[in-house]
Every structure is written in structure tokens, then in C-alpha cells.
Symmetry: C2
Subunit: 209 residues, 2 copies
């Protein structure tokens, strides 16, 4: 079933869940598809259609019970499973991401991403710590992935080595990547990669301003 | 002319420039469209087509002079103009972004984004500093935008207030936004917004893993 759902729908469900999680709600609080759509910039019919894919949560004229829908979406997205990640590259962005992703748990009760390892090849960085997580040399990756439960590798290395690092991580069993390097990386079938690049976003925006 | 170029082309040009900037090169170093395409995950014909839009930089059989093409793309993208940005919200991500964007200059010689202001409404944060940039109350935004040279607002506030903050920033003259809040924000014509959300990227990835 998972692979039958279009990526765009999953992306919207993730947005709906983030919206519902940001709302303070009690057991008797409801939200309408129009309200969700408004926050997600999606029309209400689309919201109802997306949620109907997984059964009827809504109540005619009342809307969706916020806590109930939150619970359903969490289950649908598997957002209740803890997910172990590692970060490749602890330069400025890698360090910022490490700090963000490791400290987020303190303020987000349902936050489930656990930074299990930080990797770099710079001798000046290897052996240091970020938020209590030691920075290891990349060639020690297998010691962390051996457990088999590292789901995502966050790629924050320079563009010219990103493909190489991802290839190496794949060889150690990592199947999902969030890439912050300003380069598109090729991965074999069965491996997923998503791209994100703050500076390129700013560059692109800047072109129009 | 700027608005006639498709966004996808601009995005690729930004990627090409980042790739060329990451390469150590001397005056006699050339790069082929195939090499650029390989790093950008674009086919070489597309690379030649994109670059031809702005005149012929390439030399038949030799490729493009790296320094020359870097210079041309920098000019085309206006990537040599300093660009002032402000950051809204100095929670975990806002703080990480502030640290990243303010310290980046030290290591990236051509880096041109200048963090002119950090804004929050939390009394516990207002008055503090991040990398020497003071955190001000949002209602002091006008004192920073009055100069008229703030190009981009980076939105790192909670989803439920993001639209409100962007509306306020637009009223103070900001015309470009990079949004990290997990909500799509509506902006009037003439205002550009791009979205980025690390946690949603991880959530979405996690669904498939």
C-alpha cells in the first residue's frame, strides 16, 4: 500500500500532521477540512479527498476530531516509530543540523528522529562532540550501521564528495538520504533521496529580487 | 528578461554555479558540459542548452573555462550583489540558521548574504545575541527595513503564526521569503516565497523506510 500512495499526497499528509500537532487541542476539539486546507494552502475538497483515502475520519458539518485525526495520521505515516539517523559532514550546516535535530526532542514531545552518529573525515573534527554526540571518522560508519536500524543519512558534505559519501553509506545499508549538498545525487532503485539546499534557495530567490 | 527565464532553468544555473565554485581551478582549467551535467544530474545537452541561453561560453571539444563560466554565471544570477536578509523566529531552527548564515562568510569568500536582523516575540529571547547579531522584538522590524535594502525574510516561526508574520513583513516592504514553517503561505503577486522544511522532509522520507 505504501508505495501506491503518490508522493504529493504523502507530502500533504505530513503537512496536515504538522498543522494538527501545532494546534493546542482537547478531546472535544474539531477542525474542518476548510481550516486544514487554509493552513496547508490546499482546497478543502482536496483535504477531504486525501483523508478519505484512509477511511472516514470526518463528521458531517462538524469536521475532524483534532486528537483523533492526529492519531490516525501519525499511524498512517508511521510517525510514531523512532527513526535513527546519521549526519555526514559537520561543517557549518552539518553542525547546525546536528544541534537542531538532537535538541529538538526537548521541545517536541512526539519528535522521533534520533541522531545516532555524526561523521566527518577532518582530523580536527573527529573526536569532538555536538550536543553529546561524538563526531567519528567516516570509516567507522559500519560500527554504527551494523545494528541495521539507521534509516536516514543526512548529507551535509561538500558537493564534490557527496555522491561518493552516499555510495559508501548505501554500501553500509542506509536506504534513505536527505541531501543538503548543492548537487543532485544518483541512487539505485530501492534507495530514496530528497534534496534541500538553503544557500541555493537563497541564491534562487535572490535572482528575482 | 529575468522573468522570462523559467524557474527550473534558474535553479539549474544556481546548481552549476555552486558546482563551479566548489572546484579548485586555475585560468587554464576547462570543464565539459558532460562533467557539469554529471555533477548536476542533468544531461550534457541540457547543460549546453541552458548556458547557450546566455551566449556561447563553451569551446568546441574543450568545454568551458571554469573561472570564466563561474564569472558569467555569477553575473547572470546577480550572485555578486550583497543581499541583506532577516530571520524571523530564533527557536532551534532559526538559531541554527542564524549561526549558519552569519558565520558562513568566514569560509565562503563569495558568500553574499548578510544577516541584518533577528526577530522574535519571546521576551526571553529578545535582547540576546546570536553570532553578534542582536535578537529584536518583531515590532522593531521597521527600524531595520527602513533602509529599504532587506531583500529576504527567512521564516522560522511556528506554522500557526507564519502567515501573520509574512503579512507583517510584506507590510514593511520585504518581497522575498524562504519559509521553514511547515505550512504553505499565501503571498500577493510581486512577492516570492520558497518553502523548506527539514522535519517534514525527514517525516516524508521516513514513510518509505
Amino acid at each position: 500500500m505504501r508505495n501506491k500512495i503518490p508522493d504529493v499526497v504523502i507530502r500533504r499528509l505530513v503537512t496536515y500532521l504538522r498543522i494538527l500537532t501545532d494546534i493546542e487541542a482537547g478531546p472535544d476539539d474539531y477542525i474542518s477540512s476548510a481550516q486544514i486546507g487554509d493552513l496547508a494552502a490546499v482546497n478543502s475538497a482536496q483535504v477531504r479527498k486525501d483523508l478519505a483515502l484512509f477511511g472516514e475520519f470526518g463528521k458531517q458539518g462538524v469536521g475532524y476530531p483534532i486528537l483523533g485525526l492526529r492519531k490516525e495520521l501519525t499511524a498512517i505515516l508511521g510517525a510514531d516509530r523512532e527513526m535513527n539517523i546519521v549526519i555526514f559532514g559537520v561543517g557549518e550546516l552539518g553542525t547546525a543540523l546536528a544541534r537542531y535535530l538532537t535538541t529538538r526532542k526537548e521541545t517536541a514531545p512526539n519528535y522521533r528522529f534520533v541522531v545516532k552518529g555524526l561523521f566527518d573525515i577532518d582530523p580536527a573534527k573527529v573526536g569532538t562532540e555536538i550536543e553529546g554526540v561524538p563526531v567519528r571518522h567516516l570509516n567507522e560508519l559500519e560500527e554504527v550501521t551494523a545494528s541495521g536500524d539507521i534509516k536516514i543519512g543526512v548529507v551535509a558534505v561538500p558537493a564534490n564528495v557527496a555522491q561518493e559519501v552516499v555510495n559508501y553509506a548505501i554500501s553500509k545499508g542506509i536506504r534513505g538520504f536527505l541531501n543538503f549538498a548543492p548537487v543532485r545525487i544518483k541512487v539505485p532503485p530501492g534507495v530514496r533521496i530528497q534534496n534541500s539546499d538553503v544557500t541555493s534557495d537563497l541564491q534562487e530567490l535572490g535572482f528575482y529580487l
